[in-house]
């Protein structure tokens, strides 16, 4: 990474800088509120690096979730990354060892930048992508550490701050609602989970809900597959 690459990449990442500082700070704040300080915030943001995943992680740590539950929940919330990777296969080809970092750091925001950005003339594309990814990651780490430190220093009653996670998911749902033609998958997800919560209870609701959702989506494939084909790739403004 040289100066020229950095000065080309930085302006591109400014929107992510604002977003990651804010959402990262809220994460650090929530983490501090359940008794984990900035050192935990730093290592979580360094090693996991997923917005909604880490919000959920706070909840998982706080409820002493079993490791199997942790794995399943993390898998579920990150399932959309499967689609991101598919459209980055070409871009990351030939990046050598840096490719591992590119894959690791493929968050919603970095994906959004990389899929839309134009490489300026005279800048090596792979270094450019790598610098963008590295900058985004550092914003996220800095934001979460600031949030955790602020949470420890400021005498604020943080009761209710965990609603930030609900709000984040609602925002993603609104964006998806606009981007998708058919709303059956979203409605199905909500209704099945409600039924599961009522029948199975809060502790073990997710696995049966997910099984039914996947089964129903597979059964409905004939109806849904064609309709969604046209709205592919329209999902805009992802959050975390």
């Amino acid at each position: 990474m040289n100066r020229k690459t950095l000065s080309a990449a930085f302006p591109v990442t400014v929107p992510v800088l604002m977003g990651y500082l804010a959402i990262g700070m809220a994460f650090g704040f929530m983490l501090q509120a359940i008794g984990y300080n900035y050192i935990w915030a730093f290592f979580m943001s360094l090693t996991i690096y997923a917005g909604s995943g880490q919000y959920l992680g706070v909840q998982l740590l706080n409820t002493h979730a079993a490791l199997g539950t942790v794995a399943l929940m993390t898998l579920l919330i990150n399932f959309r990354h499967l689609v991101y990777g598919l459209s980055m296969l070409e871009k990351f080809r030939g990046m050598g060892l840096r490719k591992f970092y590119m894959i690791f750091s493929l968050t919603d925001e970095t994906y959004a930048l990389l899929s839309s950005v134009r490489v300026p003339a005279g800048v090596e594309p792979h270094s450019f992508y790598f610098t963008i990814a590295l900058l985004d990651h550092s914003y996220w780490i800095i934001g979460s550490v600031i949030g955790a430190v602020a949470g420890a220093l400021l005498p604020i009653d943080t009761t209710g701050i965990d609603f930030a996670m609900t709000a984040l998911f609602v925002v993603i749902a609104v964006d998806q609602w606009k981007a998708y033609k058919k709303h059956l998958p979203a409605l199905l997800g909500a209704v099945v989970t409600l039924v599961s919560l009522t029948l199975v209870g809060a502790d073990n609701m997710l696995l049966p809900a997910l099984a039914v959702i996947v089964a129903a989506l597979l059964l409905l494939r004939g109806r849904l597959d064609e309709a969604e084909e046209h709205s592919k790739g329209k999902e805009e403004n992802p959050v975390c």
Partner: protein
């Protein structure tokens, strides 16, 4: 709280699974194979269903409180358990449809919720 070792284990699992979900397409399809249509289909329809599922999961205690007290929803003690969340979710939706600004929607809704549960519905 979890012990330090338990917390580190949970974080390690989150980190590994997150990386695997990002790496899977590269492991499976980087040699030019076309991904199976079924995988692409699930990749399209599963995310909205999962997000809806997670919203219900986030609101589970509010929903259970409503289900357990269907005949006394307006009783102040019961009202406190669902109205703040309902109002805040509504505000997030309205803000987001109106301004389409992620940060405004998330922080507007969260600050409202914190004010409601700390100062209004107590």
């Amino acid at each position: 709280m979890l012990t330090t070792a338990q917390a580190i284990a949970a974080i390690a699992v989150m980190a590994i699974v997150t990386f695997l979900t990002r790496a899977l397409p590269f492991l499976l399809f980087d040699r030019g194979d076309h991904p199976p249509k079924l995988v692409l289909y699930l990749g399209r329809v599963l995310p909205p269903a999962v997000i809806a599922m997670l919203i219900i999961y986030c609101l589970k205690s509010n929903i259970l409180a409503v289900e357990a007290n269907l005949t006394a929803l307006l009783d102040p003690a019961v009202l406190n358990q669902w109205l703040p969340a309902l109002l805040s979710v509504a505000v997030v939706v309205i803000l987001h449809v109106w301004k389409h600004n992620n940060l405004l929607s998330i922080f507007g809704g969260t600050i409202l919720y914190m004010v409601l549960v700390q100062a209004v519905f107590i």
